[in-house]
Symmetry: C2
Subunit: 209 residues, 2 copies
């Protein structure tokens, strides 16, 4: 509140609107209006709408990547052979934690991540930096050691499954607020449900060929 920094106000407004309406559904005019800034501010501070969105994506993805990396480091420092459950929690946990931090219960950020991962706009390609792939590869190696017998392809499929479950989780809650799903408890409950669900899934024996 101290500094009504136009640049971060633009980032906040863009994050909000992008998460809700996607890249193409959000106009520069709507962003600047919500940010209380001038229309030209986006061009001045970021160069273009696409670069603004890339900055938004970086800002939300990087702490998650860092937390995933740190979690794996801490886990491997303790034991060279962690359990599947621990690996799943280290990987999926930050997706819930960082989602819940900073904004209204995390539902906005989770929606933003889904948007980033699935936005059909060609500008969205490349929003996930190389850090994303690095983290994925590190977890792939860790899971491969704990789950021998799994082909690299099937393992890659399963890790993508983790992402799918955690990311898509609250998506449908948003677009059709099913009556049985209350928001306050749902955050922590969903996290535990997801760990249970995904640990069992990852621990499944290899598909016999």
């Amino acid at each position: 509140m101290a500094t009504p920094d136009t640049r971060t106000q633009l980032l906040d407004a863009a994050e909000h609107l992008f998460a809700e309406h996607g890249y193409r559904g959000t106009s520069v005019r709507a962003i600047t209006k919500l940010a209380g800034a001038n229309l030209a501010a986006v061009g001045y501070h970021f160069g273009s709408k696409a670069e603004l969105m890339a900055a938004v994506a970086r800002r939300v993805i990087e702490p998650i990547n860092a937390a995933q990396c740190a979690g794996l480091d801490k886990l491997l420092a303790r034991t060279p052979d962690p359990s599947v459950s621990e690996l799943v929690e280290a990987f999926a946990g930050p997706l819930f934690d960082e989602m819940s931090a900073g904004d209204e219960g995390g539902s906005r950020t989770s929606r933003l991540i889904v948007t980033i991962l699935s936005d059909p706009a060609e500008e969205a390609r490349g929003w996930t930096g190389p850090g994303e792939d690095t983290v994925r590869e590190r977890y792939l190696a860790a899971f491969a050691r704990v789950l021998p017998g799994l082909s690299p392809e099937e393992l890659r499929f399963r890790i993508r499954g983790i992402l799918a479950v955690t990311a898509v989780d609250r998506l449908e809650v948003h677009q059709q607020p099913s009556p049985g799903c209350t928001s306050p408890v749902a955050g922590e409950a969903a996290r535990r449900w997801a760990i249970t669900f995904l640990t069992a899934a990852m621990s499944a024996p290899p598909t016999r060929t």
Copy 2:
């Protein structure tokens, strides 16, 4: 091929473009151009761009719903207590089958489904008809009988997990063609991997509260 029916040509073109670029990323002009029709054809045959997209969504979702329903009927007719694996296959199978039928290997249709489920355009709300919910409720009841001890909320979460894994599956393959993922085998392999993955996940014991 006999009838270059303008109406279905529009549906085909729209399905193609919507799947690739989303609702807002697809212009009526692009659709009519690909369909070899006039710009006004969309307005004449469907009324508006939104109604065209709704028709596309219906055309792709309805056979999947029907197959899911039929699969459950056949399964319950055989035995009142099917296995988790059978239920998973009956539910997720059509998502792979119908995806692979009709177009180039199914990757386009699967992408379209992801678009329908996750498109941030407000016009997309309501594309999934009531049939979708009916099927979901029926499988919910069937799973509840096979998996006692699971709260309805957690069960609902898990069923959403099935959808997430099957739908998001090929999404990332599209936007970042990872080198290890070859397309010809991937279709059938992904189906079997998903069944393995999801059967184990659904069979997990309830999360202790």
